[in-house]
Every structure is written in structure tokens, then in C-alpha cells.
């Protein structure tokens, strides 16, 4: 090596350190992304019973959030990508897919996750990989209680919110005697417990012990005939999806409404109403975190979604958009997609968007609390347009809609 060569080397090294060092430290201050991309992973049901209410629509919602975020944050130096993966509503598949998405496809967050058991399974995996996870469509309160995780946030709704909203609204409106049936698995058992508590708290009573029905089940005639004999004011069904559609179909068939027995519904999605027509549900009360024609802001977003996807959004899909956006904004604030950094900026965060009003992310259990609505389903004759299903009875403020912190069993 000649002298001049060494000189050049030292010079260039000095030059490099002069230019490179400040650039490097500036990067650290602005944005630090794994693989230079923020990747959203929509883990959902792409082929089964919940594919209509979440599914491809959820993937589309996350894509919209990604585009909107980029448009609103022109200075954001990274890229945002979205992938959608089918978990088939099975816990084992959800586990495997979550691990695969995180390890091989490098996703930085997980969102959606219908079916409680699948959501819990994915949350377990995400916890070990330190990946922020937003459960939107899964219902179980275990996610913010005994099975809570530092990396999991429960968005939109849960069983407590449903029971607390519907149970007390119906009981206060005179529906003081109930007969409840529930599907015999984790979600149904949990919802039955919560609903019973909400009814009793409001001085209502059960005319007979709740009945656990097989799951899945098609024929509910036994229980409808039992209701006919018991004559409660409210026939409460905690079934979801196809089972709920069957219950309501047969509730109408057996003419229970004409016999003065009203319908109380635990968990309602817009797709259930669409499946039977709103007249089958007319008069029933349910609690929702959102619906498309709640107000002008919601309508505007719903119109954009419908233009992009061809169908009106369900509340689950709107929730996926909102959760994705909340996550991306947290990445922007944290200037990093590192799980721990993002979680830190999310905890205690207050915000309000078209979906989540007066929202607050509780740092103690990661329950995202927001205003929710008790609604009554309109008969078709009162609908002003296609998909106009609900009349709002009450807004339950965020602070009262969800399980109080004092009751939460969460320990990170």
C-alpha cells in the first residue's frame, strides 16, 4: 500500500464519517422501520361464517387506512403494506398463521381476529414476538382480563359492553323478565354470565335458568316452545352468526312476538340483519360500537368504503380501519415500528375518529374504551334507504360502556 493510497483512505474515511454520521443520527431521530416498511397483518376469516362481516372487507379497510395515512402524512419516510390471511376461525390455525406472518412475512402488527378462541391464540403468539395486536372482531373479555397481554389491545367491543348495554337498556325499558339461551362454548357462556348480571343489576329477573344449546345448532324449536310455556317478556339469545340467524328465523316462525315475547340479542352484526331482512328483527334491541349511518362523519367514511369495496361497511370493518389508523399514527409518533416503542405511545392515548368517539386506551389493561350505542332495529317500512337498520336509543359514554378497571383481572 502506497503512502498516497493510505492518505486517500484516511481522507475518504474522514469524509464518510463527516457525512454519514449526522445522516445516521438524523435517521434515528426521524424514523426507524424494520425492513423500511410498516406491514399490517389482517388476520381474519376469509372463507367461513364471519367472512362477510370481516374477511376481505377488513383487508380493504386496512388498505384504506394505509392509503389515507400516507396521504395525510406526506413526510412519512416509510412505506405501508397490508396483507390479509385466513385463520378459518380456528385457534390452532390462528396460532400458526400469526407466527408465520410475523416470522416470514415480517408483519409489524396484527388486526381483526374474529372468533374469541382464535383471537386469544394469536394474542399469545404476538406476545412472545412483541408484536402489537388489535383485536376488533373477537369478543371475549378474557383479552383484557386473565389472558391480557402487554402487546394486545381490545378494540371496538366485548361481551361486557354488549351485556351492559343491551341487558340494562332492555330491562330499564320494561323487559324485566328474561329467558336466555346461549351457545355452549367460551363466548356464549361468558356472554350469558355478563347478561344475567346486567339484568339483575337493573332489577330484572330470569324466569328460568338459562339454557346452554349445542354449538353449532340449527333447530331451536325446543327452546322457543319452552319460552312459549314460560312467557317471559324477553327471549334473550346469545347466539352469534348463523346460529343467531336460525334462532331469529324460528322466533318469527313460532310467532313469539305476537305472543308478547320480545327479542333480546347479545351480539348483532349488520350481516345478520341482511340475512333475514330487518322485519324479522324489528323491535329488537342491541348494542353496537358503530353503524354506517350514525352521523355525517360516519356516512362520509362509509360512502368511501362502499365506493372502494362495493358494499356498505360493517362495524367490524370500520373498526379495523380505525384500529389500523390508530396504530399507524402511533408508529409516526414513536418514529419506529418497534413493538415496545409503539405500545408505549399507545398507552394512555386519547383520540376521536369517525369510529371511536371519546376514545381512550387504558394503560392498565389495554381496553380501548369508546362511546357505544344501544339501538333498536327498525321495521323495513321505516327504513329511509337500503341498509338503514337502526334507531339510536342511547349513547353510552366510553367511561360507562366497558368493564370498570377495578373489576379487571389483568396483570401484564
Amino acid at each position: 500500500m502506497t503512502r498516497s493510497n493510505i492518505k486517500t483512505l484516511i481522507a475518504s474515511a474522514a469524509l464518510a464519517s463527516l457525512t454519514a454520521l449526522p445522516v445516521g443520527s438524523a435517521l434515528a431521530q426521524t424514523l426507524k422501520l424494520s425492513n423500511n416498511v410498516v406491514k399490517l397483518g389482517v388476520l381474519t376469516d376469509l372463507s367461513g361464517v364471519y367472512s362477510e362481516l370481516s374477511g376481505q372487507g377488513s383487508v380493504k379497510a386496512a388498505q384504506m387506512a394505509a392509503q389515507d395515512f400516507m396521504a395525510q402524512n406526506k413526510s412519512f419516510a416509510g412505506k405501508v403494506q397490508v396483507i390479509g390471511v385466513d385463520h378459518q376461525n380456528k385457534a390452532d390455525v390462528a396460532s400458526n398463521k400469526a407466527a408465520e406472518m410475523i416470522e416470514r412475512q415480517n408483519v409489524d402488527m396484527l388486526v381483526d381476529m374474529p372468533t374469541s378462541s382464535a383471537a386469544l391464540a394469536a394474542s399469545e403468539i404476538a406476545k412472545t414476538k412483541k408484536i402489537p395486536t388489535f383485536v376488533v372482531t373477537g369478543a371475549t373479555t378474557a383479552l383484557t382480563n386473565e389472558k391480557c397481554s402487554k402487546y394486545t389491545f381490545h378494540y371496538a367491543y366485548d361481551n361486557y359492553m354488549l351485556a351492559n348495554g343491551t341487558g340494562s337498556a332492555v330491562t330499564k325499558r320494561g323487559g324485566t323478565s328474561w329467558y336466555i339461551i346461549y351457545p355452549n362454548y367460551a363466548f356464549g357462556q361468558d356472554l350469558n354470565r355478563q347478561m344475567t348480571a346486567a339484568i339483575q343489576e337493573n332489577k330484572g329477573k330470569l324466569v328460568a335458568p338459562s339454557d346452554a344449546t349445542p354449538f353449532p345448532n340449527t333447530d331451536f324449536s325446543t327452546y322457543l316452545l319452552k319460552a312459549q310455556t314460560l312467557k317471559p317478556k324477553i327471549f334473550g339469545t346469545m347466539q352469534a352468526g348463523n346460529d343467531l340467524v336460525n334462532v331469529v328465523k324460528q322466533y318469527n316462525e313460532f310467532g313469539l312476538r305476537q305472543q308478547g315475547i320480545s327479542l333480546g340479542i347479545g351480539l348483532l352484526f349488520e350481516t345478520d340483519v341482511a340475512a333475514l331482512g330487518q322485519d324479522a328483527f324489528a323491535g329488537a334491541i342491541a348494542t353496537l360500537p358503530w353503524y354506517w349511518n350514525l352521523d355525517q362523519r360516519s356516512r362520509d367514511w362509509a360512502a368511501r368504503f362502499e365506493k372502494a369495496f362495493g358494499k356498505k361497511p360493517t362495524w367490524a370493518q370500520a373498526g379495523v380501519y380505525s384500529a389500523s389508523m390508530t396504530y399507524l399514527q402511533a408508529v409516526a409518533r414513536a418514529k419506529s415500528d418497534n413493538g415496545d416503542a409503539v405500545v408505549k405511545t399507545l398507552e394512555g392515548y386519547r383520540f376521536s375518529d369517525f369510529f371511536a368517539r371519546s376514545a381512550y386506551i387504558r394503560p392498565q389493561d389495554h381496553r380501548v374504551i369508546l362511546d357505544v350505542y344501544t339501538v333498536q332495529i327498525k321495521p323495513k317500512a321505516q327504513a329511509k334507504e337500503n341498509g338503514d337498520y337502526f334507531t339510536k336509543i342511547a349513547t353510552i359514554p366510553a367511561a360507562k360502556a366497558f368493564m370498570p378497571l377495578a373489576e379487571s383481572k389483568c396483570k401484564f
Binding site: D211, P214, Q228, K249, A275
Partner: protein, 300 residues
């Protein structure tokens, strides 16, 4: 609070059980007819039941056909599908051991379910389709001891009628005699100048047609979805085992009886509802392996 499990409530449930019994009877009768003649266990029976319901739904969507024409057309179309499958696929396996047919019909079940799912999702954008009760049969009737949907009474009636007609044809007519003869001894029957294979196809058609009929009848009560037959068929196989494989009368009586048993069971102790049938099946297998109405193989 009086317990709801009293005599009248049980009577109501016995009556109510006849509805589910009607479906079990129609399905197990079809299986029995097919097993009797072809000696195969048709695993795709549940899928063909679902196909009956789906065809009724599709006929309504595509041609605006209501319940009544579908009640006739859908079973015929399902029978036609069944006969084509029998000729092109099943018939090739008769000389092999039964497990081949089991695998084939099971495979066809998965295929049919997924096909229907794809069509429903892509063409109608639903995973479970609504089907309305015909206007003549909507509403309830007060029977004195129970207020019951008209349509469900109709289901019991139609199923009973279809069962009786099938039983009558097989046991009391010349056609039935030929079918029974081909069942007993195909070689001798053939030597009498009767084309057994033609009868085999026809009988298979009737068997799966009954499943199609059950499907159409189920459409207004249960939602039409790709897996509606999967659960039902398991119970139906239990019914067939309890009644005795291949016994016509046995399958009808057992079908209705199991429906009643399940309804009463669900009323008394709901968690047992689904298990009761299988407990009964186990008991029957222990005590009378050929089934309540079946004859031991040696007696045939």
C-alpha cells in the same frame, strides 16, 4: 317459579320432535333404500340434502320460482345428479371393497360443499341464504295444547306421505318386488331377464331424491348453507344403525322416534340433546347388533 318440565310441556316436545323426526326419517329412508339395493353407504347423503335446499334457493334467484315448483323440481334435479354420479363414478367401485365407496362419497361431499360455498359467495355474496316460507303456510295455528307454526305441520305431513309411498311401492307393488329381488339375489334376477343395473340407478335416484326433498323442506326453517347437511347426516347414520341397515320400515319408525327422543332430551337436559341418540345407538349395538328392525345377516 314452576318448573317447565311438566306433562304438557313434554307432550309439546314429543309433538315438536316429530318435525326433526321427519327429516331423519326422509334421510334415513333414502339411505336404507340405497343400502338395501346397492349395499353401499352413501356418505354424500347430507351433501345432497344440502343440494336440495340450495337448488330451491337458486331456482328462486334465477327463475323466480317459488316454493311449490321447487318442492317438485329440486328433488328431481338432485335425483338426476345422483343418477349421473352413480353411473359415472359409483358403479365402477361395486366390485371393490366398501371402503372405496366410502372414500369416494366422502370426497364428493367435500367437493359439493365447497362448490356450493363458492357459488353462494361469488354469485350471491352470502354464506348463508334466506329462504322464505310460502305465504300459504306462514303463521301459527293454535292446536289447543301448543301454538305451532303451520309450516312445520306441513313438513310432518309431507314427510309421512313420502315415507308411506316409498314403503308401499317397495313392499306392495311389482316394481318393489323386482327391487327386492335384485337386492336378494342379483344373479337370479338377471337370469329372469331383468336389467338389474338399470334398477340400481333408478333406486339410487329415488334414495337421493328423498334427501333432496328433505333439503327443500328444510330451506324455510333452517338457513341454506353449504354445511347444513354435515351435522344432520351424523345423526341420520345413527338412526340407520339403530333402525337396522337397509330396513325400510325400521328407518321410518326410528327416524321419527329419534326426533322425538332428541326433542324431549333437549327439553329435560339440554346438554344431553346431541349425545342421547348416540347413547341409544351404543345400547342397540350391544343388545341387538343388527338394529331394532334389522335381521341378522344369516337370516337374510
Amino acid at each position: 317459579m314452576p318448573a317447565p318440565v311438566n306433562a304438557q310441556f313434554l307432550l309439546i316436545q314429543v309433538f315438536n320432535g316429530l318435525v326433526n323426526g321427519a327429516f331423519y326419517a326422509l334421510l334415513s329412508l333414502g339411505l336404507a333404500v340405497i343400502f338395501g339395493m346397492l349395499r353401499i353407504v352413501n356418505f354424500m347423503h347430507g351433501a345432497l340434502y344440502m343440494l336440495g335446499a340450495f337448488v330451491a334457493f337458486a331456482l328462486g334467484q334465477m327463475f323466480g320460482l317459488g316454493f311449490w315448483p321447487s318442492l317438485l323440481l329440486a328433488p328431481l334435479m338432485v335425483a338426476a345428479v345422483g343418477m349421473i354420479l352413480e353411473r359415472t363414478l359409483l358403479s365402477r367401485l361395486y366390485s371393490l371393497e366398501p371402503s372405496y365407496n366410502l372414500l369416494l362419497t366422502f370426497g364428493l361431499t367435500l367437493l359439493t360443499q365447497d362448490l356450493v360455498k363458492q357459488v353462494m359467495l361469488s354469485k350471491y355474496a352470502v354464506s348463508s341464504a334466506p329462504y322464505t316460507t310460502p305465504s300459504e303456510l306462514t303463521g301459527v295455528v293454535n292446536l289447543g295444547f301448543v301454538v305451532f307454526p303451520k309450516y312445520r305441520l306441513f313438513v310432518i305431513g309431507v314427510a309421512l306421505l313420502a315415507c308411506l309411498i316409498t314403503w308401499f311401492i317397495i313392499e306392495k307393488t311389482r316394481v318393489g318386488a323386482i327391487i327386492r329381488a335384485s337386492t336378494e339375489n342379483p344373479v337370479v334376477t338377471r337370469s329372469l331377464g331383468i336389467d338389474v343395473s338399470k334398477w340400481v340407478t333408478g333406486v339410487f335416484g329415488v334414495g337421493v331424491g328423498l334427501a333432496g326433498l328433505a333439503g327443500v323442506l328444510a330451506a324455510p326453517i333452517y338457513s341454506v348453507e353449504p354445511y347444513m347437511g354435515a351435522e344432520l347426516i351424523i345423526t341420520t347414520f345413527a338412526v340407520v344403525v339403530i333402525g337396522g341397515m337397509g330396513s325400510i320400515l325400521g328407518s321410518i319408525v326410528t327416524g321419527f322416534a329419534v326426533g322425538v327422543l332428541a326433542a324431549v332430551g333437549a327439553a329435560v337436559y339440554p346438554p344431553m340433546a346431541n349425545t342421547l341418540v348416540f347413547v341409544l345407538m351404543a345400547v342397540v349395538l350391544l343388545v341387538r347388533p343388527a338394529g331394532l328392525f334389522g335381521l341378522p345377516d344369516g337370516a337374510r
